[in-house]
């Protein structure tokens, strides 16, 4: 492909009207080219494989996107992590050896098992190559950010259940998600919902519910926060067998504020028997209903904006606003079911517009899982690498989630990421790397091989010069036809693959997708 001078390009931007860009959600109906399939899979999944790309070339976006969602629907019940049913008695109520054992188990449940949970999720991400599922689960994890680690950790079982909630509602109804997250065991602990009592309301969750989870900054008043906290009082979660059913949130009627509250113009009178069912219906469900009815357009826009940032471009420009508006309209038209808007977005001409190809910056999830899929490496160590490069699963930096966009790549994370990616590569022998290369269809031709590797890792095709440079990593100076000889020796071939990989991970667009 040719190289356009920056001046020409900048100039062309100024002279062309933005109307040229497809600023609507009209469907892209042409059969997908190879680069377009890559683009779609890069955005919808965490890792690519050449064979899957092969499968979808020539199909329509509608076909592929429907499959990505159908496959997701079929995968929402993976095997749970090994500890998901672990219960203990409260160590404080025990003594001697029993107490020691319970304490040790408690430390695991509140500590290390959260890492094990991260490892469990990495495995799912790695396996998920033809569905949009785990990408969406990560989206929700970032959106409803909950950290296991604080002065008072959240147990891994609660974090798992929250993750499971996201998986089962990966593209479901926002209303349902908001209702369920409000009484989710991990969220109750993290944002002090379980300390929110009638005698002394705690505003933490009420504020974030509106600021971060549904409406955005500036779309609610302090009075709304105060009244909502009163409406949300009374919910608790326990962790030990002696206190009740562990991990299952419940209502403590004594702590529920029975006065009448006045939220966004609606009266919340407590003229019913105070039990869990009634309170859930008349406080929680009603609260979410009022938010979504009084500020439905704001909420739809808010979530559409985030989904747009996640799937199209993290830095939306003014011209993209109309696409986001249309997504928002679809969201409200479907009463907050998100699947129609999502599918429409991923099938749209706007999504496939060249302007939006290769513009996203990889998070550690894309970088690590993208490499992990193809190579031998411990999922646990992969989780650790993601942590040191800025994305610790189940432990976002704060309640607003990960900052994302360019913050993934800093003077700190860039060298660290390259370093650890090499660790992943070096965990494989030359023979293993050679086997990988040989498994790729067309690998007998070094040009084809180079193209196939580039399409796995780089966001867009490269210039002729750089292509030659990459190809030469396999050849080591030899002419193209000698590749046939080189691959007969697995040790040598593997070494060349290694050199190639070390070189490609330096490319700036290795960090884009």
């Amino acid at each position: 492909m040719g190289i356009v001078s920056r001046r020409d390009f900048f100039g062309s931007l100024l002279s062309t009207s933005r109307l040229d860009i497809k600023a609507n959600l009209d469907e892209y109906t042409q059969p997908l080219s190879r680069p377009q399939v890559q683009h779609l899979l890069r955005r919808a999944t965490f890792s690519l494989s050449n064979s899957i790309i092969d499968k979808y070339v020539g199909k329509t976006a509608s076909f592929v996107v429907d499959e990505l969602f159908a496959n997701a629907d079929a995968s929402i019940n993976p095997s749970p992590p090994f500890f998901h049913n672990d219960h203990i008695n409260n160590p404080a109520n025990l003594s001697g050896k029993q107490r020691e054992e319970a304490d040790a188990k408690k430390n695991l449940l509140f500590g290390e098992y959260n890492h094990a949970l991260g490892e469990w999720w990495v495995t799912l991400m790695k396996k998920d190559t033809v569905s949009v599922l785990e990408k969406m689960v990560l989206f929700w994890h970032d959106h409803f950010a909950t950290q296991f680690q604080s002065c008072d950790n959240v147990p891994a079982v609660s974090m798992y259940r929250q993750n499971d909630l996201f998986r089962k509602n990966y593209a479901g109804n926002l209303r349902n998600l908001l209702e369920q997250v409000t009484i989710d065991g991990a969220m109750l602990k993290y944002l002090n919902g379980n300390l929110n009592i009638s005698a002394s309301p705690n505003e933490n969750y009420a504020r974030e519910l509106m600021e971060l989870f549904s409406l955005g900054v500036g779309n609610y008043t302090e009075q709304d926060v105060r009244e909502a906290s009163k409406i949300l009082t009374g919910w608790k979660v326990n962790y030990f067998l002696d206190d009740g059913i562990p991990y299952k949130p419940f209502l403590n009627p004594i702590d529920f504020d029975k006065t009448t509250k006045f939220f966004m113009g609606e009266v919340f009178a407590v003229n019913y028997e105070v039990n869990e069912q009634n309170v859930f219906k008349n406080s929680i469900q009603k609260l979410i209903a009022v938010i979504l009815s009084k500020k439905g357009d704001v909420a739809a826009k808010f979530i559409s904006y985030k989904l747009y940032q996640y799937f199209v471009y993290a830095n939306p420009q003014k011209a993209d606003a109309s696409v986001i508006d249309q997504m928002a309209k679809l969201v409200t038209a479907n009463d907050f079911e998100l699947k129609p808007a999502l599918k429409r977005l991923l099938k749209s001409q706007h999504f496939f517009d060249d302007l939006n190809v290769g513009v996203q910056i990889k998070s550690p999830a894309e970088t690590v899982i993208g490499m992990l899929k193809h190579l031998k490496f411990s999922d646990r160590l992969a989780r650790n690498i993601m942590e040191v490069t800025g994305l610790e699963l189940f432990n976002p930096p704060n309640v607003s989630g990960w900052k994302g966009y360019r913050s993934w790549i800093s003077t700190k994370t860039l060298p660290t990421t390259i370093y650890y990616t090499k660790e992943i590569i070096n965990n494989n022998t030359n023979t293993e790397l050679a086997d990988w290369a040989l498994s790729i269809e067309g690998s007998g031709d070094v040009k084809v091989l180079t193209e196939r590797y580039i399409e796995l890792f780089l966001a867009r095709p490269v210039s002729e010069d750089r292509f030659r440079k990459f190809k030469n990593m396999f050849l080591g100076g030899a002419p193209d036809y000698e590749w046939y000889e080189i691959i007969k020796n697995k040790d040598q071939a593997g070494q060349r693959v290694r050199s190639f990989l070390f070189e490609i991970i330096k490319a700036p667009e290795y960090f884009l997708f």
Binding site: N202, R207, V399, K412, K506, E509
Partner: protein, 543 residues
């Protein structure tokens, strides 16, 4: 290898990523932006306390009874263990501020090297961590909650440094993980972020250090250039930083704890000759909504760490011979409310206390205890000094810039704190605006200007019944209480004859909606509302 000035020139021209400085009342000149004066040798260290430090328990109003009985019945720092720093002003330090070499921050105060700055904040305070942190970092107070804050005051400051002046050191060095908004300028990041020097150096060798010219669509090129630039910067800076690290040393002993280790590294790099002008370190954990602790627990541990780190750093800098050119400040996105909450913690507040330390600061207390500021909305305090005054003064008096340049960075000039400033070499400047217009407070309990005086407060309580006339038996009473207290509502006939108590409950200060069931048939009645010792009357017509 590309020189720094080259890649500044080549840095992204904002294709597709235009940042816009015009916010609210800020006027930014589109033509001929001012250039900075030549940079002097002075260094600023910024310690960010993440989460909102509880200033009231850091510097306590130890002679004030309400602190012990009303605001912090469970969370007050006991009078017999605090360290008074001003009898006149009734201020004392939390005992953990003694920790560290030479008696910690208390020692620094006694030596005249610690400034205690009360009542820092801004108009229309924001209670969201992220928004308020961004406001402090950007040095911009937007008109609303939605305007994006896209650059930091130091980022903008370094945007305008003359190209001939740029050194090989990064302008700013941030110890930590995530680039702070404070250093994001219009032309990109002005800081290097690192956790470990050796690690950065060895890993940076594997990064692409050449500029690659790429074609493609506009957004792609913009993001590509961004990543490419980061690689080039890492490569170049890692070498410079390593050199300073190898050259430098520490003399003082530091605790083996995160904040102390960060400041230890800063001292070493300064000693090793790194030419960075601003160093930024992070202290996490101040968001103490629950179980804040008093003498043990989260908050007191953080204060111990803060004191140990700051005092060790200052001592080290003095012994290494750099004390004349290093000043440090603390920043935090807001203080916490005077009233404790029901979970043995405190909620997001407004005005806060900040510190500055170093030989270049005036070792004084600025302002009276912010606890005595009036409440702005029944739960939270007014501020007294705009936090941007601190930035303004730093740019003029410490960095040696013109007031006009500082004005350009912040959007306007700001009065110095208490109109005199916290830095020793700050000169009087009559062209500066007056301090913020905030309600005055009188400390005399019998004076009507004292918001806490019983004479004053409940005069301002307001009660509104709606709907009025009342249909049927029920209505809402909207109460605005300036002061917490027991509320007792008795319904009476117009002749004063009592019909009965229709509501009784203790309320915190603030706005409340109370649901009332009224007695009797249609007619005119009075509601006698007793709040504490005062009575209020509301007429009510039942249809």
């Amino acid at each position: 290898m590309t020189k720094r000035r080259d890649f500044i020139k080549q840095s992204t021209m904002g294709v597709g990523v235009v940042t816009n400085l015009s916010l609210g009342k800020m006027q930014v000149s589109a033509f001929e932006p001012a250039l900075a004066n030549v940079q002097n040798d002075n260094i600023l260290v910024v310690i960010q306390q993440f989460g909102g430090n509880d200033g009231m328990n850091t510097i306590t109003p130890y002679e004030w009874e309400s602190y012990y009985t009303l605001y912090r019945p469970k969370l007050h720092i006991p009078k017999n263990v605090v360290e008074p720093i001003s009898k006149d002003l009734g201020m004392a330090m939390h005992p953990n501020l003694k920790r560290g070499p030479k008696n910690g921050m208390l020692g620094l105060f006694n030596e005249g090297k610690l400034a205690v700055m009360h009542g820092l904040g801004y108009h229309n305070p924001n209670y969201s961590h992220f928004r308020s942190t961004d406001i402090w970092l950007s040095g911009v107070v937007p008109n609303n909650d939605i305007d994006p804050l896209k650059s930091g005051w130091l980022g903008r400051y370094f945007d305008r440094v003359s190209p001939s002046e740029r050194t090989e050191s990064p302008f700013c060095l941030q110890i930590g993980n995530n680039p702070s908004l404070m250093f994001l300028g219009e032309t990109g990041e002005k800081s290097i972020v690192l956790e470990d020097v050796e690690q950065l150096y060895s890993q940076a060798k594997a990064v692409e250090s050449n500029k690659i010219n790429i074609g493609g669509s506009a957004y792609f090129m913009s993001e590509f250039d961004y990543v490419n630039n980061v690689g080039q910067e890492v490569n170049e800076y890692s070498k410079v930083i390593k050199k300073a690290f190898d050259n430098g040393k520490n003399i003082e002993k530091y605790e083996n704890q995160s904040l102390a280790n960060q400041l230890k590294l800063v001292a070493r790099l300064i000693n090793g000759g790194l030419k960075s002008k601003v160093y930024f370190v992070e202290h996490h954990g101040y968001d103490t909504h629950s179980n804040q602790g008093v003498l043990d627990g989260i908050h007191s541990r953080l204060l111990a760490e803060l004191s140990e780190a700051i005092s060790a750093f200052q001592s080290d800098i003095e012994q290494l011979g750099h004390a004349s050119k290093v000043v440090g400040i603390t920043t935090s996105e807001f203080g916490r409310r005077p009233y404790e909450n029901g979970s043995l913690g405190t909620d997001h507040g407004t005005a806060n206390v900040g510190f500055a330390f170093g030989e270049g600061v005036k070792g004084e207390i600025f302002g009276f205890h912010f606890a005595f500021l009036p409440f702005r909305d029944f739960q939270n305090l007014w501020f007294r000094t705009d936090f941007r005054s601190i930035y303004f003064e730093i740019m003029v008096s410490w960095f040696g810039q013109t007031p006009e340049y500082a004005q350009y960075i912040l959007g306007s000039k700001f009065a110095y704190i208490e109109e005199k400033g916290f830095l020793k070499n700050t000169k009087q400047d009559i062209t500066l605006p007056p301090p913020p217009d905030v309600p005055q407070v009188n400390m005399d309990m019998n004076n009507p200007d004292n918001p806490l005086s019983p004479l004053n407060i409940t005069e301002q309580d307001k009660f509104t019944l709606y709907p009025n006339p009342v249909q049927g038996n029920s209505a809402f009473l909207n109460m605005r209480l300036y002061f917490q207290g027991p509320v007792r509502i008795v319904q009476t006939y117009v002749n004063g004859q009592e019909m009965g108590v229709i509501h009784e409950k203790t309320y915190q200060a603030g706005l409340h909606n109370v649901y009332l069931e009224l007695k009797g048939g249609p007619g005119l009645y009075l509601l006698r509302i007793k709040v504490g010792k005062r009575n209020h009357f509301v007429k009510c017509l039942k249809m």
